[in-house]
Symmetry: C2
Subunit: 389 residues, 2 copies
């Protein structure tokens, strides 16, 4: 008995559609073959979500083949056979001897595969922006007859516009994030240790919502006073006190797709400055969402937010958000002034309005949304309020 195929997050036709778009882009850039090494792009093109990307692996896409071939370490091949839509014989496990080996690694196996399959002298696209310098050198050295070009973010830009099937999954993720916020309302209390509240919220994000468990955990941050000015500390060993402010940022995850969400909590009455910032930020958020429509630019959204916030006497120095999907941030379009990416239906963004204003004070709120035919659809059902507990 071979490794059984697991339940697939998407039908085969969906993966073939995605691949077809990538192949069109390959033709446009005059490339014959791609080696995709970024885990989120591998997930997008195959359904693979197992966490083997800390060692080299490559999804090889050729214009001449309908399905790609995946090279990963031998011990991870069964997971790939189980999760990927491709035929199991297209999953190739390279020898474990390449792990922890000072002289060779998995990219040597990928290069051998290209050579053995007549792809060593073709026009080859790599995600060079995300490859170590030494790995790029290896491809060049061992494939001297190949024409190597850059395909960094080639797949990622395609991911920006989601299919209806992807959007359905992102709504499931958003429902999980909402469940996390509701759990936070129950467990954040004066006298409770930050870690204990985090444990309860995280457990909720794993259990999921509406009978659909989280399939992974995304980044999780609980930054409470005196650390409200920090965005990326997990949590501390302190206890909440009367007057504590708590900034929460996390996402639900379904099949790799994340819907991030941020909300601010207050134990007891919110401080004056917090209430004033909140008022300006919510007004800015509403202005930003009102500016969303096909044809507007990412810059327009940021201008709408920034100019509104300014009327309330505040500024935000970081961008207002970014494209979002598999593994959270897609490193493509940013909701920032000057980013002239034109919004199109079914692009998805994290409108990330966290604002770490000075060393003593930060505030968070966000929405994950898609561009509709006429405006924006936000995925969360949580009110845009300071949650007072």
């Amino acid at each position: 008995m071979a490794m059984p195929k697991g339940p697939q997050a998407f039908p085969r036709a969906e993966y073939l559609r995605r691949l077809s778009t990538v192949k069109t882009e390959m033709e446009r850039r005059e490339m014959d073959v791609l080696v995709i090494s970024t885990p989120s792009n591998i997930t997008y093109l195959s359904g693979y979500t197992a966490k083997s990307g800390y060692v080299p692996q490559g999804l090889v896409i050729s214009l001449e083949e309908e399905e790609p071939t995946f090279l990963t370490r031998r011990q991870d091949a069964p997971a790939a056979m189980h999760q990927m839509f491709i035929a199991s014989n297209r999953v190739i496990g390279y020898p474990e001897a390449l792990i922890g080996n000072p002289d060779m690694d998995g990219f040597d196996a990928v290069i051998d595969f290209l050579r053995d399959n007549g792809l060593g002298r073709r026009r080859l696209g790599l995600e060079t922006k995300f490859l170590a310098g030494q790995s790029i050198e290896k491809f060049k050295r061992k494939l001297p007859a190949a024409t190597i070009g850059d395909f960094s973010n080639g797949v990622t830009w395609i991911r920006l516009t989601k299919s209806d099937l992807e959007l359905a999954v992102m709504r499931e993720s958003a429902a999980i994030a909402d469940a996390g916020i509701l759990r936070a309302k129950e467990v954040i209390r004066a006298g409770v240790r930050e870690a204990d509240a985090a444990a309860e919220i995280i457990a909720t994000l794993v259990r999921g919502a509406n009978g659909k468990p989280g399939t992974d955990l995304s980044s999780f941050y609980l930054c409470a006073s005196p650390r409200s000015a920090t965005p990326h500390i997990r949590w501390s060993e302190d206890v909440f006190r009367e007057g504590s402010q708590i900034n929460l940022e996390f996402g639900g995850v379904r099949h790799g797709y994340i819907s991030p969400l941020m909300r601010t909590f207050s134990v007891g009455k919110p401080a004056d400055r917090l209430r004033r910032v909140h008022e300006g930020e919510v007004a800015g958020m509403e202005a930003a969402l009102a500016a969303v429509k096909p044809g507007a630019t990412c810059s327009d959204i940021a201008v709408a937010f920034n100019s509104t916030l300014k009327k309330y006497g505040f500024e935000k120095d970081s961008r207002c958000g970014y494209a979002v999907g598999i593994d959270w941030l897609e490193p493509t379009a940013s909701l920032k002034e000057g980013d002239m990416t034109v919004l199109q239906p079914n692009m998805t963004f994290h409108l990330m309005l966290g604002n770490w204003i000075d060393e003593n004070f930060g505030y968070v709120i966000s929405e994950t949304f898609r561009v509709t035919d006429t405006g924006a659809e936000t995925f969360s059902r949580m009110p845009r309020e300071i949650f007072v507990v």
Copy 2:
């Protein structure tokens, strides 16, 4: 009021000792200045554990200065001031405009800092193995008078031997991992959904043990039949059934330090093959641990395991473990045949005997240990058994 210093995981003298060892290695390699960009190495040399490493940052170490300087994006500077042992004015937040910017990124700020501080024409060490090719090119292009050398894993090799203070923290992490296994014994039952069991175990890893919470979550894998052959799938939406085998791999985390642990569970009587593999693996583990002593090599440990397992009719193709500490795996020494790294007191390893034998069957067991003056100290208190629930 400026950002307050948080409780430090280690005293200042400990960080200065680590830095002094790094500086000795810099002198040996004839380097004047280092830019450390790997998050785990930054943690080691400063105490910083916030998760800002998805954008460029650099800890600049100069032979001429006692304390390093840290460059990170502006919004993460307060977290660095809070967590790092260095003076707050040695934390430099670079402009948020460098984030999501197609033309520049945080390494431009690091390079400007080097130039502005008279370090632009010196002998400069980079962790090139972990830097994108484009980033290395940028350092070379913008610092044409610098002599750029490779310091990849220079810090990581130093990390291999732990201080007593680090070992105490790793024992705390191990107690948390043990608590996770004990929770798994309570919640893994026929009819329970994998995700729900995972939620309970993960919550325990956050709550911690002995009054010391987990300070983060490490990787977590729950691979149950029919996926026992996969090491790196998080968990699934299935329910456990009578006869299910469950492979668990996770770690406790304290201040960045992880003690990984793997144990295999069975709902009801373990299958025959599982019991036979377990017998051979435990015998192999005991042989491996008995071979640990200062002066033995990593290879010796692997030979002891492999030759014992073979007597029981099994083989393992992946390495038997690796150096372990901050953020789990240290990419230095491997417990594999042919790795001639000589064991020395207080080196720490994950004796990782997970064995994914064929597409239908895998088994896991592991111990995190340190080399003592005479043998091995394992950190976990969990019995080396198949946990039958």
